[in-house]
Amino acid sequence: MLAEAALRDRCAVAGIGATDFSRNSGRSDLTLAVQAALAACADAGIAPAQIDGIVRSDMDTVRPNDLAHALGIPELTFWGETGPGGTAPPAMLGLAVGAILSGQARTVLCFRELNGRSGRRYGLGAGTTDSVGGAGTYDEFFLPQGLTTPGQIFALMAQRHAYEFGTRPEHLGRIALACRARANANPAAQMHDRTLTMADYLASRPIAEPLRLFDFCLETDGAAAVIVTSTEQARDLRQPLVTIRAVAQASIPDPQPGVQFPVLLRESITSLPGQAVARTLYRRAGLGPEDIDVAQLYDCFTITVLMQLEDWGFCKKGEGGPFVESGAIDLDGTIPINTGGGHLSEGYIHGMNHVLEGVRQVRGTSTSQVPGAETCLVTATPLPPGSAVIFGRG
């Protein structure tokens, strides 16, 4: 096995592209994926025909051959998918790196597409009135009792975090406000024109207490894509070099089965599997939390961010609330987060828009640029075992 240090910075993100983010795209999933892919190719300065690998998430409806056909790609020599769902994007880059370093492809497109508002709305959870459960889902222990959505799971986690550590609504509000302020600077963000104050946040209607409206991410129609190549190839392309310093997936000893509800049976529900991803990723990168200039933290809900700040070592366990209250996650703080507005205020492209924003920060082209940022962490560590990537300059 190659030494981890020898694998650092071997591949790079040569291009990024996205559609507009909206509540009703009026376009097919395939058209969204094509538009994001073309934008990424144009950004990289390559023709779509040069793509020879495609990686998707397990919740994309567009298949690699759909996209290869639509784009007129003459020959794919690698394709793959990973997940589940929002844990995919950094791991998708990991698959691309593996394909490139093993000689299976040279130019890999990673994409995520969804009509998340006008089409299937993940936030509605399970709406069935039929029999539920069985086949390893364990839904039979949860859905019939009225636990039906991801927001309700995170509400139970947030309540427990409040019980164990004294976390207050104002703490979660600081995360919502930070993301909104970054979105206000980002013309592509769905919430670009809508400001948010703490009074607005506290007055917003409860959804599943202690979580309220502005603790929830947006539902978005859109797509985002990146082009991964070897670092050598990326140097010859048009964009400033942004390398994949390291990428990691990691599970925990008791991940629990199923997709989401059984995570409530973990010994602790105030941490997420990001703890394990953090250990593996920092080791591979030869970096620690103190070396990260800016972070894009998966924010399906505000509490998800709070727990990750602890899991990723930016503050101690249980101190996420006071940490965000200190201003640490703001643009001039010690670890600015979600600088495009995040899922909470830019759009919910299931982790992929965070990847694009991470690249922008290291290029120096974010609408909320952290001066001199040389490293950006992008996490996709919500409920299931997840993934993360650190971008650098090689």
Binding site: G123, L124, G125, A126, G127, T128, T129, D130, S131, V132, G133, G134, A135, G136, Y138, D139, E140, F141, F142, L143, P144, Q145, G146, L147, T148, T149, Q152, A155, L156, M157, Q159, R160, Y163, R205, P206, I207, A208, E209, P210, L211, Q256, P257, G258, P262, L264, L265, I269
Partner: protein, 130 residues
């Protein structure tokens, strides 16, 4: 009536078979007695493949809770209070309960389960404040 549980899954059927008789049962490994929750057919502790269902007192404490105020599922009118419950005799086993409305609850508060006859589906534990 809301979604009804599948009660004939090979790994979890024992829970609902006990509930049909008004009992709360926890899955153990038939070989080494390790608690297997959520119920599975294989014991990672000893490698055994048999299940044994052990009755426990239908009593627990609230581990966490949430008052749901935004109507999502048509069969669960809001507000209602979701409970994440740890069993008194087996605190490593957590189950979910639901209370109508928003009664005064807190972490640690005792709850008990009844098994009322169900006209519209399988019997299952219904949790209430003790």
């Amino acid at each position: 009536m809301g979604p009804q549980p599948v009660v004939d899954d090979p790994d979890t059927a024992g829970f609902f078979a006990a509930a049909a008789e008004g009992r709360l049962a926890v899955c153990h490994c038939a070989s080494c007695d390790a608690v297997l929750h959520p119920p599975v057919g294989y014991c990672r502790t000893c490698g055994g493949f048999g299940q044994r269902w052990q009755d426990v007192a239908p009593r627990g404490r609230i581990y966490s809770y949430s008052v749901v105020t935004h109507q999502v599922h048509p069969d669960f009118p809001t507000p209602y209070t979701l409970l994440l419950i740890e069993l008194d005799e087996r605190p490593e086993v957590r189950l979910v309960g639901r209370l109508d409305g928003r009664p005064e609850v807190h972490v640690g508060r005792p709850v008990v389960a009844d098994f009322p006859p169900a006209a519209d589906g399988p019997r299952r534990p219904t949790w209430r404040l003790a």
